[in-house]
Amino acid sequence: MRAANRGDTGAYHKLLTAITPVLRKVVRARGAALGPEGCEDVLQDVLLAIHRKRHLWRDDAPLRPWIYAIARHKVVDAFRSRGRRVELSIDDFAEGLAAEPGPDPTQGRDMEKIFGELEPRAAEIVRAFGLKGETTAETAARLDMSEGAVRVALHRALKTIARLRERMIE
């Protein structure tokens, strides 16, 4: 995290990848009623929050309690609002039903809705980094922007996404 806050993309990627399985377990333990997709949405909310609030972590403080504090807040928030429209899974009633070949369990739903509301170019940039794994230089060349502009656009897009998701939860 220390390296991440200094701008080390590789270290940050590694950190987020490492904490995700733990967080997924926490979210699923609490929200079995949301189904795997709903849980993945909450997990993505938590990751976004960690990202948006990473400057609040102090270099000399232990990281684990900080991440748990952020995660707890987001999880409680998510379940409080989503709890109002509890989605009961069919599995609860029909155990005998043959399991369908479900969609990718790490696929969230909310994000696609958000992309629809996002400015096309912002959505394109987030997709470029996420789905296509492009580097800043590649995206910049393809969209005919400067690298600095791409960085700023990505930063703003993630900020907007976080805000839109908050509004969705309300």
């Binding site: 990627h13 990751l47 929050a49 948006r52 609030k53 992309f115 980094f129 996420g130 960085r151």
Partner: protein, 210 residues
Amino acid sequence: MRTQDLISALAADTLPQPPVIRQISRALVPAVAVSVVAFILFWGARPDIVATLGSMAVLKTLGPLALVALSVAYALALSHPGVADERRKIALGGALLLCALLFVVVFAQQGLAGLAGALSTPSLLVCLLSVPVLAAPLLAAMLWGLSSGASMRPRVTGAAAGLAAGGAAAALYSFYCDKDMVLFVLPAYSVAIGSVVLAGALLGPRALKW
């Protein structure tokens, strides 16, 4: 979008985010300017301001300013998850208790008649209205700055922001206010600042959502 893809997008965003304190200061610059200009235009300092600042009445300014420092420190701690806020809470609580204690002591000396005498002046209404008006831009700036933090207790954090804004507004107003009796200043300023605290507590959950 798969979580793994989200992680890639997040990791690519390496722009540093400014610390909360810097966001607050940035927002406070125009807010303080608005309040001070409004004060100069519509209130103005009392004529004997220089003599006042050399007397005990300077506490009318310094007291609220001390509350500002303590409540900003507390609000900042509340906005950083995992940062201990106990000490700052005790410091702030102690300062408020000290004010209450001072009031009780003076009230015991002068009694109800003294209190009624001190408060039966048109200045009371002026004070109760002026401080919230001067505090409004400051409260907005505080809440905006704190919203870049992550408060687990937005209502308390909002109240602390209100105390800071109200305290600063009271300190500003004290340059105009020509009533120096303890039995006027303590209750009137407390109620005026209290109304800003209440506003902060009401706005907090909405403004500090994250």
